[in-house]
């Protein structure tokens, strides 16, 4: 498979870079709007000693950089196109991470990690049942006991475990 090092086409790269620029711009604008809301919630943004000056300055900088990024995406010579890869697998793994992070308080530590560890292994291409079973049991038992036993961390318990 050589497609992993192939760059995306120039137009797709442009669109992606533009989107990143717009994303940056919107973050900057959201923060700017909060700082400059009326009445100013954190004091006068123009006063260098106030709580609003520094965030206001940074938000302005970020917004400006967002514009610069959008403009740069449409330069005649893009220096580098974004490399392609198996993005769908990574997105699946990311969905798994988000689900585990969000679901851990309800699932409890045991269930959450015993599902997450073998599932990620499956995404990495592991298909042997024995290995997956060992992965589901051994690392969680060791790590959770280490954290709870030595470090005195008390993990949330869920509905089942």
């Amino acid at each position: 498979m050589t497609d992993t090092v192939l760059p995306l086409s120039r137009s797709v790269t442009r669109v992606l870079e533009t989107l990143m620029g717009l994303g940056t711009l919107s973050v900057g604008v959201v923060f700017l709007r909060i700082v400059h809301a009326s009445p100013p919630p954190y004091g006068d943004p123009g006063d260098i000693g106030s709580a609003a000056f520094f965030p206001g300055l940074i938000a302005l900088l970020v917004s400006a950089l967002g514009v610069v990024l959008v403009l740069m995406a449409w330069r005649p010579h893009l220096p580098r196109s974004i490399a392609t890869g198996q993005t769908s697998r990574a997105l699946l793994a990311y969905a798994l991470m988000v689900a585990v992070a969000a679901g851990l308080p309800w699932l409890g530590i045991w269930l959450a990690v015993m599902l997450a560890v073998p599932l990620l292994a499956v995404l990495f291409g592991e298909r042997r049942w024995g290995v997956l079973l060992i992965l589901a049991v051994v690392p969680p038992v060791l790590v959770i006991h280490l954290f709870e036993g030595v470090m005195g961390i008390y993990f949330p318990r869920g509905v089942l475990l």
């Binding site: 890869g85 697998r89 990311y94 851990l104 997450a116 560890v117 954290f147 470090m151 949330p156």
Partner: protein, 504 residues
């Protein structure tokens, strides 16, 4: 104090435990010392205190191990280490990287301990004159290092830094009491937790990158080198000036109460790049970069004990906890300890020196096994990394909200790496933003609103000139390297970017 074999044993046990704890992402040196300090309340001072010092040192060093092996800094101070350390691992030189990091750490630690023993008192009396204006300028100097880690696209680097600085603004502002950008969330009142975000941006995004570009396919040969060669003496000797420079810098920053290893490693890294003959290798597996980052952050450890032993002032959170442990033993560190119990203090210094030798022994032993980590198939290694990240991120604050921050960091880190945004500037902004802002605003309260405070004090004038110098040198080198970079064939730049994904 070292006469008892128990002291020695406690020190060794602490050091081993410290290295392991530091190597686990999320379990920081601070946490290790905080959690284990109560155990020492019931031990003799000659056993309990060496145990804690061992943990402290071990954990700071241990943070570099996962940074090098799996691009996951175990502690915030190891974030700079991950850049070149992981790049070296990808090139099949993990053993060299681990050994270099160990040797730089030990040398820096040793030199810094000497400074502590010999010139603690004069150095501390200079350090204590440093007020908020000087701190603000030091932070500013550290922030200029963003330019050195931005890679070839300065706009993207600055954007990353700006986002980091914005995120750092979230939370309750201690000076004004305003709840800034909390969007009504209670959990954001304390700000975005740094360690979970850091682990997410480095470790989770690394897992996702591994899935996107599986290593076998990327190399094409299928034969991956494991561990690689040992570090040669000549290679290490060539770095002596870099290490010496970073060590002096780390020692100085460590002796300032309130500044820690997180800031020292980046200034040391930027300084080394500025002085390097091959700055273009930084971020792509430079020995100099790795040595500078590691000696910079390890030199801070003994130096942070300077304000503690001389004034009884904690240099950082860890030393604050150490002071607590010492107090529980009936010994209050500070001016009185030197007069009333000099024997204990010298015992303490001796323990610090012995810890260094032990760290070398333990480290070399650990590297024999650690270099095998690259042998573990990704399908086993990365799920385990995920497990450690989840547990570590939760453990920092015992907060389930931090797990969401972890996941957010992972997504953001992945997005940035795929689209060529460097991660390091964001981390620098996040680490240094709050310190810079509060130092700046405190200075203005001192001066009653006048900016003249930044050049009217002798210390701040020196630092201001230094800042100007740094900016001029950087601009000069930026112009120079731009010329050099354009001479590189385009295909080579492409390849180096894709193959050595550690440029983050």
């Amino acid at each position: 104090m070292l006469a008892s074999p128990w002291t020695f044993l406690a020190l060794s046990a602490g050091l081993a435990a410290g290295i392991l704890i530091g190597a686990l992402p999320g379990l920081t040196a601070t946490m290790a010392v905080v959690v284990l300090a109560p155990f020492t309340f019931f031990m003799e001072a000659a056993i309990g205190i060496p145990f804690l010092l061992g943990i402290y040192k071990g954990a700071i060093y241990g943070g570099s191990i996962p940074a090098i092996l799996v691009n996951t800094p175990g502690t915030a101070a190891a974030a700079a280490t991950a850049r070149d350390g992981y790049a070296l691992t990808l090139q099949g030189s993990s053993r060299k990287a681990l050994e270099l990091s160990l040797f730089s750490s030990v040398v820096a630690d040793l030199l810094s301990t000497m400074v502590l023993i010999v010139v603690a008192i004069p150095l501390a009396s200079i350090a204590i004159r440093f007020g908020s204006p000087e701190f603000a300028l030091l932070y500013l100097i550290a922030l200029t290092m963003i330019a050195t880690v931005s890679g070839d696209n300065v706009a993207k680097g600055l954007t990353a830094a700006g986002l980091g600085l914005l995120v750092a603004c979230i939370g309750l502002d201690p000076m004004s009491g305003y709840q800034r950008f909390t969007f009504g969330s209670t959990d954001l009142l304390g700000g975005v937790s740094l360690i979970p975000l850091l682990i997410g941006m480095f470790a989770l995004s690394e897992i996702l990158m591994q899935l996107t570009h599986p290593p076998e396919r990327r190399d094409g040969t299928g034969e991956v080198v494991h561990g690689g060669e040992r570090l040669r003496w000549a290679e290490f000797w060539a770095l002596r000036l870099t290490i010496l420079r970073s060590t002096s810098l780390g020692t100085f920053i460590g002796s300032l109460p309130g500044l820690g290893a997180e800031i020292a490693c980046w200034i040391a890294y930027g300084l080394a790049r500025g002085r390097s003959r091959e700055p273009e290798r930084f971020g792509k597996g430079s020995f100099e970069g790795l040595a500078a980052a590691e000696s910079g952050n390890n030199a801070v450890v003994p130096a942070a004990l300077i304000p503690m032993t001389v004034f009884g002032i904690p240099g950082d959170t860890i030393t604050a906890v150490l002071i607590g442990a010492l107090m529980a033993q009936g010994m209050m560190p500070g001016p009185l300890l030197i007069q009333q119990n000099p024997g204990f203090l010298f015992g303490l210094f001796l323990v610090l020196l012995v810890t260094n030798v032990l760290l070398l022994v333990f480290g070399l032993f650990a590297i024999r096994w650690l270099k095998q980590v690259t042998r573990i198939p990704p399908a086993v290694l990365y799920p385990c990394v995920l497990l450690l990240c989840l547990c570590g991120a939760y453990a920092v604050n015992s907060s389930t909200f931090d797990l969401l921050i972890l996941a957010f960091g992972g997504g953001l880190g992945y997005l940035m790496r795929r689209t060529g945004f460097p991660i390091a500037p964001l981390i620098i902004g996040l680490l240094l933003g709050p310190g810079f802002e509060s130092a700046l605003r405190q200075s203005l309260v001192f001066s009653n609103g006048s900016l003249a405070i930044f050049w009217s004090r002798p210390g701040s004038l020196v630092l201001l000139s230094l800042l100007a110098l740094v900016i001029v040198v950087m601009a000069w080198q930026g112009l120079k390297s731009k010329g050099a970079a354009s001479r590189l064939p385009r295909s080579r730049r492409m390849k180096s970017h894709n193959a050595k994904g550690g440029d983050s």
